[in-house]
Symmetry: C2
Subunit: 235 residues, 2 copies
């Protein structure tokens, strides 16, 4: 049964799903939906995801959107996926749901608020919003502190697990979005969190070489956004 | 194995969990954490939920927070829960995860932004924030329109299901929070959505008499908040 992933590698949940499939040997066709070109707003894509967001998947005659739901579905529908990604044990699974739910209103909201309003808005031809960026950074920093002190307390992976789960992949890909920020900003925000820096390396190693392959896009995007910002600042 | 629910009936996800347990004959002890009195910020409660939020549960030696994770856990751990609440079928389950994930960044965020900044802030001794309330209402109204036209398209319950799932309970309890708003505001926001009004009745009937029992708190709270608002406006 054919699996199509509708993704943009600049979208952090898209990257999580791509890495998950590659690491687990799940065959798929990658359909690029270029957000900066507005391809998520076409009528064709609305047939796949009426919410006009990536990622979304089509698996045979089944369509699904929302990245956490997709990761859970893939882990459940493909028997080759190792148990540690989404354990069958009800309590272990419940803890993973708890992290993923927490992610929505904390790390994800803070990260998107900060990065979008600091730099990514420019790629959509929108003005930057320093107030929204500051509010985003506050929530982002509080969320990183909670990951450092609570979710990674018993490391190396979230919840004290010895192997990564879908939650590690979702949250690390979110944190990786900070790579497109200015170096000083990245250092100010991420630098103090040594456990998080180690955790990123651990997730990277556990999913090598796919993690780096999928994140190759970050560096040129950062340079492109930097140039765009310099041009806008000159206006 | 003893189950304790740490809840405040003024919290919409707390109500969803209380109704779910009562409807499914799950025995529990209700531990009231009075948010307006700051009981969620005590060191004792931080032992249960370090995020200092309700609801949270303790089941034997297992603790859990985040309401969607709790609903999924209860539906999975108690065999007496009927399948329609959280179907074993991987695809049906995936669709329920998709609604619940969507809820986080849409209905829930809009509803909390609107209600908190219109009235509930007063119960916490905080000032109202008309800008944040307007932003919340915009997202709330867009989310209600999406429920009406998409999630309830094939009704009577979300996703065209003929019986309610945990997603129906979570989302309807969220919508019910609008009951503490001014009548005119409630009518303006909810009135146009006939399918949603019918859906609320359907979820109420499917969980009778517990739905009304747990929501008894809404009417006196609304009156109390109304008086508080009148006093603040006079200052």
């Amino acid at each position: 049964m054919a699996l199509k992933l509708y993704v943009d590698r600049m979208s952090q949940p898209s990257r999580a799903i791509l890495i998950f499939c590659k690491k687990n040997g799940i065959e798929f066709e990658e359909v690029k939906i270029d957000l900066a070109k507005g391809q998520h707003r076409t009528p064709d894509f609305a047939e796949v995801n009426p919410m006009k967001q990536v990622p979304a998947i089509v698996h045979g005659d089944f369509t699904l959107f929302e990245s956490h739901a997709i990761l859970i579905y893939l882990a459940s529908a493909f028997p080759e996926v190792a148990d540690h990604w989404y354990p069958a044990d009800v309590r272990q699974r419940a803890k993973i749901h708890s992290v993923l739910d927490w992610h929505h209103s904390n790390l994800r909201r803070g990260s998107v608020g900060y990065i979008f309003n600091t730099i990514i808005a420019l790629a959509f031809g929108l003005p930057l919003n320093p107030n929204a960026a500051a509010e985003g950074e506050k929530l982002l920093s509080a969320s990183l502190a909670t990951i450092e002190s609570f979710w990674l307390e018993d490391g190396p992976f979230l919840l004290g697990n010895s192997q990564p789960s879908i939650a590690d992949l979702a949250l690390v890909c979110e944190v990786m979005q900070i790579e497109v920020a200015d170096e000083n900003d990245r250092e100010r925000i991420l630098g103090p969190h040594k456990r998080i820096l180690k955790w990123i390396e651990d997730v990277k190693n556990a999913t090598a070489p796919h993690f780096d392959d999928i994140h190759v896009i970050m560096s040129p995007t950062k340079e492109r956004l930097k140039e765009l910002k310099a041009r806008v600042n000159k206006l």
